[in-house]
Amino acid sequence: MRELIHKLVETYGPSGAEEQIRAVIRTEVEPLADELRVDPLGSLIVHKQGSNEGKRIVLAAHMDEIGVMVTYVDEKGFARFTRIGGVNPLTCVGARVAFADGTVGVIGIEEKRDDTSKAPKFEQLYIDTGATSRDECPVHVGDAATFVRPFVAQGTRLIAKALDDRIGCAVLIETLRRLERTPHDVYFVFSVQEEVGLRGARTSAYGIEPDLAIAVDVTGTGDTPECAPMAVALGKGPAVKVQDRGMIAHPAVRDLLVQRAQEAHIPYQLEVLERGTTDAAAMQLVRAGVPSGCLSIPCRYIHSPSEMVDEGDVRNSVQLLLEVLRTA
């Protein structure tokens, strides 16, 4: 799986510009699909036909990642920018960003600030592509970029940008690869625009009308120095969501995940997340309502360019999804 994860995390795909990452995922899943389509907002939907004895199930992971967008290019060729999704200005200073065509920029910070001990504001940051004038600047207003940071595997830990939620995409692809027979009609949804408001999952779920939906996404942990308390740790198994800021998981979906994990002796943890939410929150409220839950991969430093997950948690997530799909 490492090679797949490596490829997924290093592919460009900020919210609203998922063409490149969609093409990469499409290549992986096309041979495995009974039916494949791209819906109106750009989400990739892979259908795996069941034996008609089970449910219509959506498994959703979002393809998009956080990033930045150019808002203005000044006379000297420096580009001002805004964020796409929850980018932290603290992780911007000194970072490199790459645009769709591969152009790289460095994020600089204005030196004249009232209080340099405070976290910078986005208005004080700019992207420097090395251009010396507006006309020469290779990037334009409306162009989007993502952070640059190479993938590293060290021991059992994987470190990369955009593990949120390419690791979920990798889990879905691996599950699809290893899925042999299932009674369920399964729709693997690689959704768009999660980071800007769970938009793609909402419209995809409307089109599919599932009986049950599970989002596969990252969640925070409570195992780093002086962090906010949270009963989730890296390496202790996938987390079954109880609730987050946007959703209370449907008890039947939560119990299904817990029960299958116990039966198959897969380690798992229960998760209550106090900040953030996932595609499941949007899918739950579509049409007349969809029983929804979330399988989370514990992840440190979410939304920084160096997110960290445990490879064992990733493998166990695949295992647990296979257990869920195996029987009715």
Partner: protein, 339 residues
Amino acid sequence: MILRELSEAFGVSGKEDDVRAVVLDAVREYVDEVKVDTMGSVLAFKRGTGQQRMRVMLDAHMDEVGLMVVGYDNDGFLWIRAVGGIDPRLLPGTLLQVGPERIPGVIGVKPIHLLKKEEGEKVPKLEDLVVDIGTKSKDEAKKLAPLGTYATFATEFRELGPTVSGKAFDDRAGCAVLVELLRGERFRFDLHAAFTVQEEVGLRGARVAAYGIEPDCAFALEGTIADDIPRDKDVSPTTELGKGPAITVMDRSFIADRRLVRLLTGTAEELGIPHQIKQPGIGGTDAGAIHLTREGVPSVTVAVPCRYIHSPVALLSLDDFNNTVRLMRESLSRLTRRT
């Protein structure tokens, strides 16, 4: 000029009746069907020539920001609250029209002779402002302007030369563009025009209109922020007057469909129509509601840049207006399912 009639019509969110009447009169003879939906939006249908089997939604909102009467004091002054985004700094001394009868009113202000220095430096709060409609008692005021009465700015439309000024260009400019498009030749696809209600209070009319229309793609037509006014730092403007229609790539409500953005910029470049990309991340439009409808609708926003929107008087360039109509018409004539 249809923009004059639209601008001068009374249409605060939730009370769009006057604008609706102007729109109905303006488009009726140019469309195949027209109806008013449950929320009050005007939905006009213009059949295509049949060459493209596609449903295209064009949206412009009829409502404008304004004020609502929420109480009275014993001397016959009206208490008010904002409907939509109003900057209280602009209100003292402003002329209003109150209610469907358009009763003239003035937002009361202390003359400068009596103003203490500290008072002069403070921004007034909406709760501290009153509207004076000449009434002398609570009962008299209640009778003329019952609770819930809407008020809007009493601003005449003016032609200043290459620019025009008036109230409610957000979004009567978009309404006027849409009227012009409906008055032209048929397109190859079926055109569904929606003149929507209640955008300024949460994109409400567009949401249900799009649900009913079930479009394959959508264009929101707007009057948007032009802040090309003097500034101290080289970091903006959002859009500039005279530089052509502004195309949205991303704002707070949605991310535009890249294919539609390319259609618009490609058409503009091909024909030499001036155009600009609106500074991303600012504001929101009906496209925010439309693109999330049902299974999702690829959407984009195209706007006429307007200085001083949401104030008693806005200003736009007629060249920008005409170029917006032209860019939309030419882009739509190039729109296919494959776009």
